[in-house]
């Protein structure tokens, strides 16, 4: 009986991603809460047009600063716009910027890290440039880039990607370096495998996990970054509803109309919270060494 059980465990194949995911979700309530919340936010953003009771940008000066109630669920802001509708629509910009920056950072930072980690000659110059970019506090660098490029969503995405890509490059580089020293890469090299093939068939697939984990944190960082830029007036154009922009406007009415500040701030916090939980969960699933930390 005992022997049979041992055999069974040794013969069992290593669990697939989904199996690990299912088990982790079962024992890791954080990841479960994170993915439920995040799914909810994505659904809200996708179906925002069906949910909103009012046009998010429609100004009704006669109905300025209405307090939350039956007529206006979360009240109105200083220009008579519906706070609930603006908060719902604001999720679209947040998630769009977040996912774009996460993907771009994974690709750009991933490629730089891959090359730096595998091509010895390019390592030092590439990493010095990454060091220099990391020598700016992220938000200062992003403000500078926005000052150069002007208010546009695409510029927000570019600015935040430039901020987040260096760390991705650094993470991927260190993973690639350790993979490059491993036996299977050595064997591949010994059998006459070309550098390109080695990079894309052997090294890259094995560095996917850290890229995905890092990207999920970049997603959270980008959502926060977009809101911060909008809050400082250096973000997307003001006619696009954004949580950061709403919070910036709410400062003027803090004592008269605190609801203009509560809804977008709560939405932003919940989104970043969900992404951080999700990132922690992904790390537990993909990087077993860190499990339980």
């Amino acid at each position: 009986m005992h022997v049979a059980a041992t055999l069974e465990t040794t013969e069992r194949q290593s669990p697939t991603f989904f199996e690990t995911a299912r088990r982790t979700l079962a024992v890791n309530p954080n990841a479960l809460v994170g993915s439920i919340l995040f799914t909810g936010i994505v659904l809200v953003a996708l179906f925002a047009d069906l949910i909103v009771p009012h046009d998010a940008n429609f100004q009704t000066p006669a109905e300025r600063l209405l307090s939350p109630g039956s007529e206006r669920l979360l009240g109105t802001d200083g220009q008579g716009r519906d706070v609930f509708s603006r908060t719902i629509v604001g999720s679209q910009l947040s998630l769009f910027v977040g996912i774009s920056v996460a993907l771009l950072t994974a690709v750009v930072g991933g490629l730089i890290g891959l090359v730096a980690g595998f091509v010895g000659k390019l390592d030092a110059p590439l990493m010095r440039i990454m060091d220099a970019l990391m020598a700016f506090p992220g938000i200062v660098l992003a403000i500078g880039i926005m000052a150069v490029r002007g208010a546009a969503v695409i510029n927000v995405i570019i600015a935040l990607t430039i901020v987040t890509a260096p760390r991705m490059a650094r993470v991927v580089r260190s993973v690639v370096q350790s993979i490059a020293e491993s036996q299977f890469v050595e064997s591949a090299r010994a059998t006459g495998c070309t550098t390109n093939r080695m990079l894309f068939r052997h090294v890259l697939p094995n560095s996917f996990s850290p890229i995905i984990v890092q990207a999920s944190f970049v997603f959270a960082e980008a959502v926060l970054g977009e809101a911060t830029l909008s809050f400082l007036g250096a973000g997307a154009p003001t006619d696009i509803p954004s949580w950061g922009g709403m919070l910036s406007e709410s400062r003027l009415f803090l004592s008269q109309a605190p609801w203009t500040m509560l809804a977008p701030g709560a939405a932003l916090t919940i989104t970043v919270f969900a992404l951080n939980l999700l990132g922690d969960g992904l790390r537990d699933i993909l990087d077993p060494r860190l499990r339980g930390r």
Partner: protein, 314 residues
Amino acid sequence: MFSFIMRRAVVTIPVMLIVATSVFLMLKLTPGDPAGIILGPDATEERRQELRDDLGLNDPLAIQYSRWIGDAVRGDLGDSLFLNQSVLSSLAERAQPTMLLTLLAMIVAVGLGMPIGIIAARKRGRWIDVGAMAIAIVGISMPTFWLGLNLILIFAVKLRWLPVAGYVPLQDGLWDSLKYLILPSITLGVAQAALIARMTRSMMLDVLNTDYVRTARAKGMGEYRVVTVHALRNALLPLLNVIGLAFAALLGGAVVTEQIFNIPGVGRLLIQAVGRRDVPLVQGTVLVIAAIYVFVNLAVDVASAILDPRIRKA
């Protein structure tokens, strides 16, 4: 030791050079002519070209670049376009509030984060650990400016305990100055406190599982001594890096915090300079912030090397 410091210091030179170069290029690519901005929309083309000559804007890019680097190395960051003073003196004027704010926020971050992390690690898996880590992840997720607005709403608008915003210089009285900085430094420090708590917990867990901690316990050492002398000392090294990163994050976060609380510091100066397209001021401010950042990283590396001989050899 000395050779390690020298080697490490030399690496910062190319980094600072690339930083300076990118700051220069970044602002050269800015649309809009500084001369046109100074003179306003009514200026004649002739007058504009004259001023461009004076400012050296008609010189080839390479000349402008070498002049900028040369001046920057000598500590001359040029003059602000709007403030009628040199970039360095306007930065010096605004340095006090930013330094005080960053320092106080650092005290909040370390003073809250490390004890919470140590307690959570000691009580691993119990409700105090789970609760502290749940609060920590909320702290990390909450945007600085929303936390700030909430604190203002509660402690300044509703309870009227502290002022809503503004700044009183230190020389006008310690308490008067501190009163204005309490909410800002909590606002700025909380997220870093949460990060430090998480890292402290994780480092302590690593160390508490090591053989030498078991040995220390086995020979009957008191739990307090085990934690402070054996565990904390060894967890401190990676934490030092985290604290270095925290300082850098605080420096960036100060820009946002100063904006929320109307504190006339370097961050607000930067935002104003960006708004007015004051190119030399933006260049200088970004460069100085980056230089502080690079210097802090250097200091962290040197401090780690002092604490751990293995790093010196690497």
